[in-house]
């Protein structure tokens, strides 16, 4: 065991604790960015001027009429930008565009004494547009060869030879949807400028450092003139990794120009209309199996719907390519990836970051091919699992592959899988209009940012003279329980009760140059940095403790150390060792380790409507040696249901007609875009953590948990396919749309759309 992963016999980590802010959450005391805004005097409110075209040139923009509206204070346009008019890191996202790139694109912002004044003012701004042709779907983009960014190829072996060798070759195509984040808290920023011109932005952001950098470059300032703070977020899920920057920059620009605090909070409709989502993908594939159903070769092309700008589309695509294998050994493989440029919101990070999209392809392949091979889908999947010694197509050793089979076997046992399958087959035979389906699927998910440099973190730990401890780290809290875990890590490292440790909000002037809280890496990276800082302090205290004796109390040691002029605070740092990644060659060992999980799901489907419900779910998931079991179980359950939403219910639609509304998001609200509600909670939901799973080399033997459980939801999609198959002639290969809405299931039962 490494020192980092060694866990003391009695430790605060591993204790099931409620979220550190739970008492504040339930009493309404927890403050979010916009709650702070409402407590800020002399506040101005920002409202966008949104373009009513998917693609157009702005030929004239006249802000003057807005100033006739009572309460309008300032209209912000490109002319006001002192620095760079760009909200992205790739310099392809003009903050105030002259070319409208999606329906709802903000071309100007209005500041008002009230939100109502700003809203009416925004409607009064006169803008002329010259509409241009718009590309909306991936299929249209492929036809027009509208792509952006890298076009990586993942390749191992000789795919032509592999297909040649295969006894059975199948081809297919699937076009599947993205997903709206629908964090309950929409994008929000509050910007102030102090007497010295220092800009202070509170932002609901997963990436305070990058928000800081974008605000600085828009304002033409150096990073040290901008401070970004994130108290907490009302959900992020990746949607606040790169998307908050432009909104923060608009607020900061307004504050700088007016000298007053500016609040920018999007309504739900604005948020859904203007901010990026999970990438939908289009995939074509050709797969070969031997007579035993063993994968021989896979040739595929994955085209993601990137929207109007690159944003994070390239790394999302990389991760999709790195997860198209999921848990399966595919000897010969070639997967081409490309990013379509469409006139839609710039699609971005979303829990799983391309991993789910890559996996959907292979799970769809296996689900469709199993009946054609005459094999049970569970058997087909199991037969193709990675084994110890295998490497992924990008050349990384699949360490701990046995955990996959262990989790699989455990789910088969605890879910009573075989007996239930027999019982379901009997019941289905006597039930013409309602069928049940059962499926089991695995997850193997790589942990670490693909881009090696991001795998670093910092922390600041203060021990005060009275022995109390304040920690600060570079990670942000979005509900995932990172702060809870960091308190537990610090308490464990220092050997203190958790009550002696407090945590201060994430700020760029405390810990600089942070990575996004993303890629499930928050606890791995920041936990190790917090522990490093604590270890430094303990090392400095050791001589004092030697003098005072082993029974000396912490408070006495600290006080003595202070008088001995020993530094009682430390900056911790961590970087993940042993990573390598060549993004061009799509080769390397980009991941510290893999997180594994297995889910079995049972559904029942009404043949008259296609409506269904999830009746039972059994999960065994690998979180290493859990830092915080209540938090981890919550991540597994929440991630799973979010995945179920993506795959079954959440149905993003754009107006793809040639009418005047072309390009408009047709589902821009909670009433038109439905996410899982309490009624989607499986009636019987059993979640267990994989035992004997300590991870060497990660903080206290734990593993990342944020993203991997989302992909456990494939079990539900495959169970729906199984139920549909029960309506169909035996041996039919069932094609199922994603999302598998009741309508999609209905048409699958009927053998296709009319």
């Amino acid at each position: 065991m490494s020192r980092l992963s060694e866990r003391p016999a009695t430790a605060e980590v591993g204790v099931a604790r409620p979220h550190e802010s739970a008492a504040l959450h339930v009493t309404g005391r927890a403050l979010y960015t916009d709650d702070v805004a409402l407590r800020t005097p002399r506040l101005l409110h920002a409202h966008p001027v949104c373009a009513p075209h998917a693609h157009a040139f702005v030929t004239r923009l006249d802000p003057k009429p807005a100033y006739d509206i009572d309460g309008v204070v300032r209209v912000l346009t490109a002319d006001d930008v002192p620095g760079v008019n760009d909200a992205g890191t790739k310099h392809d996202e003009p903050l105030f565009p002259t070319e409208v790139m999606f329906h709802g694109h903000a071309v100007a912002w209005v500041l008002g004494e009230s939100l109502e004044a700003a809203r009416v003012g925004a409607a009064a701004v006169e803008v002329d547009y010259e509409p241009l042709p718009a590309i909306l779907t991936v299929v249209e983009a492929i036809e027009e060869a509208s792509f952006q960014g890298m076009q990586p190829r993942l390749e191992r072996g000789d795919v032509a030879a592999g297909l040649e060798r295969a006894a059975h070759v199948f081809t297919g195509e699937i076009d599947f949807a993205g997903q709206e984040h629908f964090y309950l808290e929409t994008h929000a920023s509050l910007a102030l400028v102090d007497d010295d011109g220092q800009v202070f932005v509170q932002s609901s952001t997963q990436h305070p450092t990058e928000t800081q950098e974008i605000v600085a470059h828009v304002l033409g300032l150096a990073s040290h003139q901008v401070t970004v703070q994130c108290l907490r977020m009302g959900g992020g899920f990746g949607g606040k990794e790169m998307q908050p920057h432009g909104f923060a920059a608009v607020a900061a620009l307004g504050a700088r120009l007016t000298g007053r605090p500016v609040r920018l909070r999007l309504t739900r409709q604005q948020d859904m209309t203007m901010s990026g989502k999970r990438h939908g993908f289009h995939a074509t594939w050709r797969v070969g199996f031997d007579d035993d159903g063993r994968l021989q070769a896979l040739e595929a092309t994955l085209t993601s719907d990137g929207g109007w700008s690159l944003d994070l589309s390239e790394p999302v695509l990389s991760r999709a390519l790195c997860h198209v294998d999921n848990a399966y050994w595919i000897p010969d493989i070639r997967v081409d990836g490309r990013v379509a440029r469409t006139h839609k919101t710039s699609q971005t990070a979303f829990r799983g970051f391309g991993g789910p999209q890559g996996m959907l392809v292979i799970e769809d392949v296996l689900g469709r091919c199993a009946p054609l091979l005459g094999l049970d889908p569970a058997e087909l999947r199991r037969r193709n699992f990675y084994a110890e010694g295998h490497t992924t197509p990008y050349g990384q050793e699949v360490r701990h592959a046995e955990r996959l089979t262990r989790a699989w076997d455990e789910v088969l046992t605890t879910s009573d899988f075989e007996a239930r399958r027999a019982e379901i087959a009997r019941a289905n035979a006597g039930s013409p209009h309602r069928k049940r389906g059962l499926a089991i699927t695995p997850v193997k998910f790589g942990i670490s940012f693909n881009f090696t440099s991001f795998n670093q973190a910092g922390a600041l730990v203060h021990v005060y003279k009275d022995g109390s401890v304040l920690i600060n780290h570079g990670g942000t809290e979005m509900g995932q329980g990172l702060h809870t875990k960091m308190l537990q890590v610090a308490a464990t490292a220092l050997g203190l009760p958790i009550e002696r440790v407090r945590l201060a909000p994430t700020r760029t002037d405390k810990v600089p140059n942070t990575s996004a809280t993303a890629a499930s890496s928050g606890a791995d990276l920041n936990g190790a940095a917090v522990k490093d800082a604590c270890d430094q302090i303990l090392a400095r205290l050791r001589p004092v403790r030697e003098v005072l004796g082993p029974t000396a109390l912490w408070d006495d040691v600290v006080r003595t150390a202070y008088f001995d002029r020993i530094q009682l605070w430390a900056a911790g740092f961590y970087k993940t060792d042993g990573l390598s990644w060549d993004a061009n060659a799509v080769q390397g060992s980009p991941f510290k380790y893999f997180a594994y999980g297995v889910a079995a799901a049972e559904v029942s489907v009404d043949g008259f409507t296609g409506a269904y419900q999830v009746d039972r779910v059994d999960i065994v998931h690998d979180v290493g040696d859990s830092l915080s079991p209540l938090v981890d179980i919550g991540q597994i359950e929440g991630g799973f249901l979010q995945g179920v939403g993506w795959l079954t219910l959440e149905d993003l639609r754009w107006d793809t007609s040639d009418g005047p509304g072309r390009g408009r998001l047709a589902t821009p609200s909670a009433s038109t875009y439905k996410l899982p509600s309490l009624s989607e909670l499986p009636a019987d939901f059993r979640v267990a953590l994989l035992e004997r799973a300590a991870e060497d080399g990660a903080v206290y033997g734990s593993k990342a948990v944020g993203e991997p459980p989302l992909m456990l939801a494939f079990a539900v999609r495959e169970a729906l396919r199984d139920a549909v198959a029960a309506f169909r002639p035996a041996g039919d290969s069932v094609e199922l749309d994603s999302p598998a809405t009741p309508e999609a299931v209905f048409w699958a039962i009927r053998g296709g759309r009319p």
């Binding site: 009493t27 309404g28 309950l184 509900g479 919550g634 047709a666 009433s671 899982p676």
Partner: protein
């Protein structure tokens, strides 16, 4: 300016300046109570849920959870409100808050104050724990609250762990006293009239709009910028709040909330009892009224198809008196009706006896709290294996809710057999003019019309 204040968490707060379009949510947040959040501004997510003291069905007063984002702040005049902040504080959590906190019921915490309020309303429901060791918690109470983080399991467990309120719980005690008086109020942009006569006079003025639960008007205001000249509160008027179940007719006051109707009917109209749990969410039903639902005349409102199948009629009230119109003749076009300016829906009349076979089929993406792609309501009377009466109401397939008269005619007077049902189902599948939209394709809607009758037949069986 009588009653231009509200009691919030036990403190009297001035409503001065709280003019429409200011919502109750924004007003509360503006006075520092930022626990309630705006998640969607259309009553879909429940992050804004707060408790208001309303006249109860099983107790003099009930703590009723509502969407504060939809209600005009001015309508809180003279009312009592409790928010998550008022239920407890971090050092002394309310039982609902304690269960939510310790079980991991909050992750990001943004939806949590709303969940806590919806849960507290059910916690205080009179008779919840009676006759059972279980908590008796009705999970429909949480159907209007969305959580994106937890997956709901810990929230459900928190709800089911709740015992009865302790003796001395002041909010529980409050339910035993009469509800706040709905005294007349006149604020800029909002009037709560003294009586029906004043209401009708006000409504005859241009720009005046009747306001009950504000579950539709609030959406129009928040999302579409609708700014009516004057809001006239009507849901307190006694003439709109009656409910009688007579031998020949069931009369339902148009100003009762759907939750009140659901509980006061208590299953007396089985078809409506099937509709209520599928109609939006409890939070919405706590505000929404039958009058409002039929007044907005949405082509997909779930009540209209059911009331059409029940052969219901409406009593329209105006200064000139009353007139009764059959619901089948009420809708004239997309969101258009025979209702004249100055007329108010007073009561809904459902004739008895009711057809013995009643079923409501709602097809939507999500099982609960979704807008129908198609809604089909059946009221069928089978006598000796023959269809004596068949009424089928449809929503979501035309510019207005409609009756499926051709399919009805194909059933009446004929045996209830698979052949007859198949024939009628085909006619049903040709009803209306279903469109393709984000909810469903026209082809699916047509298929759903046809299969709805086949499904009913499969469920109740053929002629014995």
């Amino acid at each position: 300016m009588e009653h231009s204040h509200a009691v919030v968490n036990g403190e009297t707060r001035s409503l001065s300046g709280a003019e429409p379009p200011l919502t109750a949510l924004d007003w509360l947040r503006g006075i520092g109570l930022t626990g309630a959040k705006e998640g969607c501004a259309e009553g879909e997510c429940g992050a804004c849920s707060v408790l208001v003291a309303r006249a109860g069905v099983d107790a003099p007063t009930e703590w009723t959870a509502i969407n504060a984002c939809l209600l005009p702040a001015a309508s809180l005049a003279g009312q009592e409100v409790v928010t998550a902040e008022g239920l407890g504080d971090p050092d002394s959590l309310h039982p609902v808050q304690r269960e939510m906190a310790v079980r991991g019921g909050s992750q990001c915490g943004y939806c949590t104050p709303g969940f806590v309020c919806s849960m507290a309303a059910e916690y205080y429901r009179a008779g919840r724990c009676e006759g059972s060791e279980e908590s008796g918690f009705d999970l429909h109470a949480l159907s209007g609250n969305l959580c994106r983080c937890t997956g709901y399991r810990p929230i459900v467990e928190a709800a089911q762990a709740l015992g009865a309120p302790e003796a001395g719980d002041h909010l529980s005690f409050r339910t035993t006293a009469p509800p706040p008086v709905s005294a007349p109020v006149r604020l800029p942009g909002y009037v709560r009239p003294a009586d029906l006569e004043e209401a009708l006079a006000l409504l005859a003025e241009p720009g005046a709009v009747a306001l009950a639960g504000s579950t539709d008007l609030g959406v129009e205001s928040n999302l579409k910028g609708a700014r009516p000249g004057l809001l006239v509160g009507v849901d307190h008027l006694p003439q709109l709040r009656g409910l009688t179940v007579g031998d020949d007719v069931v009369e339902i006051g148009a100003g009762l909330s759907l939750s009140e109707v659901e509980r006061r009917l208590d299953g007396a109209v089985p078809l409506l009892a099937e509709v209520f749990p599928l109609f939006a969410s409890r939070l919405i039903r706590n505000g929404a009224t039958i009058g409002g639902n039929l007044g907005t005349a949405s082509p997909i409102g779930d009540l209209a198809p059911a009331l059409l199948a029940l052969d219901a009629s409406l009593v329209l009230v105006s200064a000139a008196g009353e007139r009764e119109v059959p619901l089948a003749g009420y809708f004239t076009g997309y969101r258009e009706t025979v209702r004249e300016p100055g007329e108010l829906i007073g009561r809904v009349r459902v004739p008895r006896p009711l057809a013995p076979v009643a079923a409501f089929h709602k097809v939507a993406k999500r099982r609960f709290d979704d807008i129908s792609s198609v809604a089909v309501a059946f009221a069928i009377d089978l006598v000796d294996g023959e269809v004596a009466r068949a009424a089928i109401g449809l929503g979501g397939v035309a510019a207005t809710p409609i009756r499926a008269t051709e399919a009805e005619d194909a059933l009446v007077g004929r045996p209830w057999t698979a052949e007859v049902v198949t024939e009628a189902a085909q006619l049903l599948g040709r009803c209306g003019t279903p469109i393709d939209d984000h909810r469903a394709s026209g082809a699916y809607r047509r298929a759903m019309l046809a299969t709805s009758l086949e499904k009913l037949f499969a469920e109740i069986g053929g002629a014995a």
